[in-house]
């Protein structure tokens, strides 16, 4: 089976809009969370959100290309642009070679709701213009990236709620492993508008710590009260190893393995067993043992039940005996969602970028805002201050809201 490596990355997130800034935000433990006051009038209980700037695309894309971009596709454009530049792939290369695209995205609520409201106001669907028919599709990210960057290979959209971005990377890796493609842009994108998360506020999953945004996302803290929605986009250029070597590409990491599972619990309820299986399947796929993993980028979103289930699953797989013994040789764990909030459909891809940046720069970002560790996480090697570390293998968890789990494992190719 062919090997799959990462030869380019791009990111547009609430903790930075380029790789360098994001690396420093991770190292410094900077929060990207703020308040969207307008949500109050919509009946939101949580006004918290990752604050993601909208890119000014007028100087970068012509009107027709901008017209079909949803909010999340705008972010994806910026992330993909950086990833291809980072991989030293230009437009000519894209035109002359077959590059695929796989993006994780599970809603385009902004476009759907705006279309309905505008048509109702105008009394005429012709007043929507031509772009909304494209923007309203969950596949709008992948189709627009293919259109803009001339990606003429496979084109897939993965939709599995909060594991969509991770599934995109895993699917892209499978396509390269099997020889279907030599190179694929894989990523995830997430809208942040007020329509995007309204139903999640309605099922009481969001933090209500409105008076203290930077401390609202607090995975593994005993006093967490829900997730903080966030968004943006992340993109990775995945490439077959020999292909990357032949063109002299810089290799940032290798996709060592991936694993999937579906929970056995009712929708909306996490499953320790399901999450354990995803991690175990990923280890088996990578032909690794638990002790080979140096760092775990936890899914931990700061919800009450979700963090407990993951802590239990990690303990079961990585701390099968006494948690307190030999703790320094167990994988250390952090949730970068403490900084970014929950980037939802994008999270699996953005956390892949965060993890690889940490591997590349020999540190683990802190899980901030833990004042009192939850009992379920006690004895786990959770990083609360930035930690210098050589990471050989890192594991990243993404657990979808509908019980769809995906775990990725990355190998550091620098050490």
């Amino acid at each position: 089976m062919k090997r799959v490596v990462v030869t380019g990355m791009g990111i547009w997130s609430c903790i930075g809009q380029d790789l360098q800034t994001v690396t420093e935000s991770l190292r410094q433990g900077c929060s990207g969370i703020g308040i969207r006051h307008e949500r109050k009038t919509l009946g939101y209980h949580s006004l918290l959100s990752g604050i993601v700037p909208r890119p000014d695309l007028r100087s970068l894309l012509d009107r027709r290309l901008r017209n079909t971009l949803s909010e999340e596709a705008e972010y994806a454009y910026m992330a993909t642009r950086e990833a291809l530049n980072n991989a030293q792939i230009d437009a000519d290369y894209c035109l002359q070679n077959e590059i695929g695209v796989v993006f994780g995205n599970d809603t385009s609520n902004g476009a759907v709701v705006d279309s309905f409201v505008n048509a109702k106001e105008a009394g005429n669907t012709f007043m929507l213009g031509s772009g909304m028919a494209f923007q309203a599709l969950t596949s709008n990210v992948a189709m627009n990236m293919a259109n803009i960057f001339h990606l003429q290979g496979t084109n897939f959209t993965t939709s599995s709620a909060c594991s969509s971005g991770a599934q995109a990377i895993a699917l892209a890796a499978m396509l390269i492993q099997s020889g279907q493609q030599d190179m694929i842009v894989a990523g995830g994108a997430q809208e942040t508008n007020d329509k995007s998360m309204i139903a999640f506020d309605g099922v009481n999953t969001l933090s209500k710590r409105n008076d203290d945004p930077a401390h609202a996302s607090r995975p593994f803290d005993k006093h967490r009260d829900g997730l903080v929605p966030s968004g943006g986009a992340a993109a990775l250029v995945l490439e077959e190893y020999e292909h990357a070597m032949a063109r002299g590409a810089t290799i940032y990491a290798e996709i060592a393995g991936f694993g999937f599972s579906q929970n056995d619990t009712p929708l909306g309820q996490p499953s320790t067993t399901g999450e354990y299986k995803a991690m175990l399947n990923a280890l088996q796929n990578a032909n690794l043992q638990p002790q080979d993993i140096d760092y775990i980028n936890a899914h931990a979103t700061s919800t009450v039940s979700g963090d407990i289930a993951e802590a239990q699953a990690v303990a079961r797989l990585f701390y099968p005996e006494d948690r307190a013994s030999d703790i320094e040789n167990r994988p250390f764990i952090s949730s970068t969602k403490s900084l970014t909030g929950h980037e939802c459909w994008m999270a699996g891809a953005s956390e892949a970028v965060y993890t690889i940046l940490m591997m590349q720069n020999s540190f683990a970002a802190p899980s901030i805002n833990i004042d009192e560790l939850d009992d379920a996480a006690k004895g786990l090697n959770i990083v609360r201050q930035t930690r210098d570390a050589e990471i050989h293998f890192a594991l990243s968890n993404s657990f979808g809201f509908g019980g769809t789990n995906c775990t990725l494992i990355f190998k550091n190719t620098r050490i």
């Binding site: 012509d62 009107r63 027709r64 017209n67 005429n124 012709f126 007043m127 929507l128 213009g129 031509s130």
Partner: protein, 87 residues
């Protein structure tokens, strides 16, 4: 609205919103061939026409517009039509 005002308003949004080269904006310029406006752009033009002139053309009417000069004439004609009442 005078014909000159229609021309100025139209040319302004074609430059600002549709990013067309002002040098191309001559009455004889063909929408599709010279100004590179396709069928989807025509749908967007309907939205712009509503916003700028407060008239709502039908797609079939817009499809009869071939040149920029036709468009000026079409807008002038629509603006001068007596208001329709609902039956």
């Amino acid at each position: 609205m005078t014909k000159q005002e229609i021309i100025e308003k139209t040319n302004a949004f074609l430059v600002d919103e549709y990013e067309k080269d002002p040098a191309l904006l001559k009455p004889e310029a063909r929408f599709r061939e010279d100004l590179d406006l396709n069928s989807l752009d025509y749908m967007d033009l309907m939205v712009t026409v509503k916003r700028e002139f407060d008239i709502m053309p039908a797609p079939a009417e817009m499809n009869l517009v071939v040149t920029l000069g036709d468009f000026y004439d079409f807008i002038e004609k629509k603006l001068n039509e007596p208001a329709k009442t609902n039956e």
